[in-house]
């Protein structure tokens, strides 16, 4: 096992290609832990950001500025009584949240955090991801059915109808992006090695195509890439049942829709599945259109100095966050009741600043000593950082949408899905193909 550990450290392949099970397992565990932390952070950010959008403060008591609120929520949900409706189908009731969770987490096996940092680079990566996200519908349907009461059943049927309709638009937008891997337009920046008529369905290949064509697919064949991206963005919000398409789970409409009868831990599994699915489809969008792990301007501003400057970004970001935490500490009220919160926030600021210093030290040490492992860890750090930063922007956008836009009525939702999104995505697909072949 130790030689499996050591032998991978020098390779530039994903663990799947290098046939290295230990590292694949390590990546899976890292992704699992990372996504769980991200979901908790999302929970906190959602409540704080929604509150600030609505000119109120959000959770302030539990930890300093509510930082421990997700943990408190998790503890509360875990110690709640686990109610199962008496007439419910026990097996299906038990397995429904698990299927949703499975579908949401399995997408992460193909999400690339870097040119070799993916669990496995499947050659049909995109196809796999589309298929797995269509399995999430099954979890919803089974949850509604197993609860054996009207509201969850109607909520589940509505939710699955919505998810299925927007999957079509999503798939067509994805096909648009895949087309762009092989069509190189005006050929301004040289012919990429993938554009001799063969595209690729693998996620890493798509980002590499963007790198070689010197353009994010968002800006390619302007405005076709943009329209395809907008269609995918809308469809992914509808896929994950988030506002403004959250009729099936809105509290004021159907008493929380398909997960009404779930309490405690099972409900938290549903929430976990929903947030994980949000992060998963956002990372797909980032990979397909926004250039994946590429830093801004990887080709225009190339060279070791620019690489070094951009490599300082992760450390500077964390130092900035630590500075904000210190600012909050200073502005805390000077009442003795707040002493422990002040100490907590200061400690949090110290932790953030410490991480920032560590992340600054790695590229500086790599530049100074030019050691092989340090160089590659700088690269890995940069790739992961830019990827996570882009996904974080998407997460903030999700919360922004929820705060700003009113809910769609269900028939309006279906009308938009079939009568607006489908023709537009078909049109964009055809236009992309025509423009790509002509130019």
């Amino acid at each position: 096992m130790l030689d499996q550990f050591m032998s991978y450290l020098g390779s530039t392949l994903t663990p799947g290609q290098a046939n290295n099970q230990l590292w694949a397992l390590i990546y899976v565990l890292i992704i699992f832990a990372g996504v769980s932390v991200a979901v908790m952070a999302m929970n906190w950010l959602e409540r704080k950001a929604l509150a600030h959008f609505q000119v109120r403060l959000g959770p302030m008591r539990v930890g300093p500025h509510g930082l421990l609120q997700p943990i408190a929520d998790a503890v509360k949900l875990m110690i709640k009584e686990d109610i199962i409706p008496s007439e419910a189908d026990k097996f299906v009731f038990w397995i429904a949240p698990l299927i949703g969770l499975l579908a949401a987490f399995t997408v992460y096996t193909v999400v690339p955090f870097g040119p070799s940092q993916a669990v496995s680079d499947m050659n049909i990566g995109i196809l796999f991801m589309l298929g797995v996200s269509s399995l999430a519908v099954l979890g919803v349907v089974m949850a509604g059915w197993a609860s054996n009461s009207h509201y969850p059943l109607i909520g589940a049927l509505r939710s699955s109808a919505q998810m299925v309709s927007y999957e079509v638009a999503m798939g067509l937008a994805v096909v648009c992006a895949i087309l762009m891997t092989s069509l190189h337009g005006l050929g301004l920046y040289g012919v990429s090695k993938l554009s001799d008529g063969t595209g690729t369905l693998s996620m890493i290949g798509i980002v590499q195509a963007q790198q070689e064509q010197h353009v994010w697919f968002l800006f390619k064949f302007f405005p076709l890439g943009l329209i395809a991206f907008v269609i995918f963005a809308i469809a992914m919000v509808a896929e994950t049942n988030r506002a403004p398409f959250d009729l099936p789970e809105a509290e004021s409409e159907l008493t929380a829709g398909f997960h009404t009868e779930y309490s405690g831990l099972r409900w938290s599994l549903f929430m976990l599945a929903e947030y994980a699915a949000m992060i998963a489809v956002s990372s797909i969008a980032v990979t397909l259109w926004l250039g994946g792990w590429l830093r801004p301007f990887p080709n225009l501003l190339a060279g070791p100095t620019w690489d070094f400057i951009f490599a300082l970004f992760p450390g500077l970001t964390f130092l900035g966050l630590g500075a904000i935490a210190f600012l909050g500490t200073v502005r805390m009220p000077k009442h003795p009741y707040f002493k422990i919160q002040t100490i907590g926030l200061a400690a949090f600021g110290v932790v953030l600043a410490g991480i920032g210093v560590l992340l600054l030290a790695i590229p500086i040490a790599a530049k100074v000593s030019n050691h092989d492992i340090l160089n590659r860890s700088t690269e890995a750090l940069m790739n992961v950082y830019w990827f996570v930063a882009k996904v974080a922007v998407f997460m903030y956008l999700y919360i922004w949408y929820r705060a700003t836009w009113p809910r769609y009525r269900f028939d309006q939702l279906m009308k938009v899905g079939w009568k607006v999104m489908l023709p537009i995505s078909l049109g964009v697909l055809i236009l992309t193909a025509i423009v790509g072949v002509i130019l």
Binding site: F91, M122, S134, L138, L157, V164
Partner: protein, 159 residues
């Protein structure tokens, strides 16, 4: 192991009283078969199977089961009155299959063509679909159109 899962799923499909359990067993079977396709170096067919079959058709089945399930169907007798004859006929079919395998064993020896490079599978299928099988492709899309129209008209309350 995957084949064991597939066969177990198939058994569960035909024996469960509750239609929803049968549908779940069918989903397990479909996913196991998709895994078998991957072992046969057919990644595109596996992907298509998961998206279309497990993701689409089974959702449709679950919808319909929920719409038409009555309480009394669960309490009714599951199997036909003439099930011994059906079982006998299927056993005869199985015996026929096995005799075919025995006789033709020499034809399909354990000769497996060495695994093709994976990255070109989808591309080659695409080439074949649009090259040799172009006509069948168009006819398939026409078939889907007819099926959509038929399903919509069938399920409408008043035409």
């Amino acid at each position: 192991m995957l084949s064991g899962l597939a066969i177990a799923g198939g058994l569960l499909v035909i024996t469960r009283r509750n239609a929803v359990h049968s549908a779940l067993a069918l989903i397990v079977t479909l996913l196991a078969v998709a895994g078998l396709y991957l072992m046969l170096y057919a990644p595109f067919v596996a992907g298509v199977q998961i998206i279309v079959y497990a993701g689409g058709i089974m959702v449709l089945f679950l919808f319909v089961i929920m719409l038409v399930s009555l309480e009394r169907t669960v309490k009714e007798r599951q199997f036909n009155r003439i099930w011994p004859i059906g079982l006998l006929a299927s056993c005869a079919l199985l015996a026929l299959f096995f005799s075919v395998f025995e006789k033709g064993k020499k034809l399909f020896e354990d000769r497996l063509v060495p695994a093709p490079t994976e990255s070109v599978n989808t591309q080659k299928i695409g080439e074949m679909l649009y090259g040799n099988y172009m006509f069948a492709f168009e006819i398939a899309s026409l078939l889907l159109l007819v099926a959509i129209l038929g399903a919509v008209i069938m399920a409408k309350k008043r035409i």
